[in-house]
Symmetry: C2
Subunit: 200 residues, 2 copies
């Protein structure tokens, strides 16, 4: 890596540039969750404690992103680089799998949101990733106005990234950054199955 | 992390599902590079050796994603988890910075592409990330037809992800997956500056 003295940017003091953002990655295309995970890599390097809350994916699948952030969390503990990473899987599975018998998804989502609301109110993390929050919002399991109000009222300096298709308009309107991932082509359309290393 | 025995998916043998893809993340919206980096996390966990080639960003900035993958590469060396990560910064700086005096960007891009072409022909990596390749293609520094032909002829099992706005049509036509990141809102439009942890 280059040494710090060779980095000419930013010339402006960080404090002048820094601003907590609400970022939303939505749309039908592939890349919403991975875009937010890639941003979390930057947060990690910046030394911002990271909290990841996944509203759909269950903890039963060891996704690649989770395993990688577990390694980054360990690297932080072992050698002080980066930042700590906390990860909570709040859902019962992938949306494209048939519903399994198990806990009520609405209850799971409400419980998940209460965890997030508490983390925001107590400033537990500096980078908060709410993966697939759009689903419980779109289904009415979690109240959109409550979420928007809690995000708007979050104290201190907390970057928030939200992912998922079908994000409610009220959430988009409240965001500082919105990117829509538009699907132009996807291998599933050509009959190909998901594969480890690409889909998870 | 959950133990492997609890993971019920995939039921199908991996070999039946696995297929090398050409993936493109393009458009004006934020999240192209980070989406590809997030996919590389999955590749890392899958044990696929990763080669990242950045066509615009220079090595002078220690970006968060580079630092994080450096830590993941170290984790692989130290404890065998994940996969090795090789990273080459081939450019001279961010596109939104004034051009510095320095090497000719066309020569840099051509040199960069020759490195990639060699890596593809020799199957050096299993996940190849060509960050911001669209820029030298759009500027005519690297020949689109040559790139498309080299990608189509790549031997063995090599996943390829390409990022950058303004991807040439011939490249999009050759891809298995294309996502366009559409900018709905961006903090820069409201006069805000880039900040470490978000933009790099």
């Amino acid at each position: 890596m280059p040494d710090a003295a060779r980095c000419r940017v930013p010339a402006e003091p960080a404090s002048r540039r820094e601003r907590p953002l609400l970022m939303v990655f939505t749309g039908e295309g592939k890349g919403k969750t991975t875009a937010a995970m890639g941003m979390a890599l930057r947060a990690w390097h910046r030394g911002w404690p990271i909290g990841v809350f996944q509203f759909i994916k269950s903890g039963r699948w060891p996704t690649g992103e989770r395993a990688a952030f577990q390694a980054l969390d360990a690297a932080h503990r072992d050698s002080g680089v980066g930042a700590p990473v906390h990860w909570e899987s709040l859902g019962s599975g992938f949306t494209w799998l048939p519903r399994r018998t198990g806990p009520d998804p609405a209850e799971l989502a409400q419980h998940g949101w209460s965890r997030v609301a508490q983390a925001l109110a107590t400033q537990q993390y500096t980078f908060v990733l709410l993966d697939e929050l759009s689903y419980p919002l779109a289904r009415g399991w979690v109240d959109v106005e409550e979420v928007v109000a809690a995000l708007a009222a979050r104290p201190g300096f907390q970057q928030v990234a939200i992912t998922g298709r079908g994000c409610p308009e009220a959430l988009l309107a409240a965001a500082d950054l919105v990117t829509t991932m538009t699907k132009v082509r996807h291998p599933f359309d050509a009959g190909h199955r998901g594969q480890q290393g690409i889909e998870w």
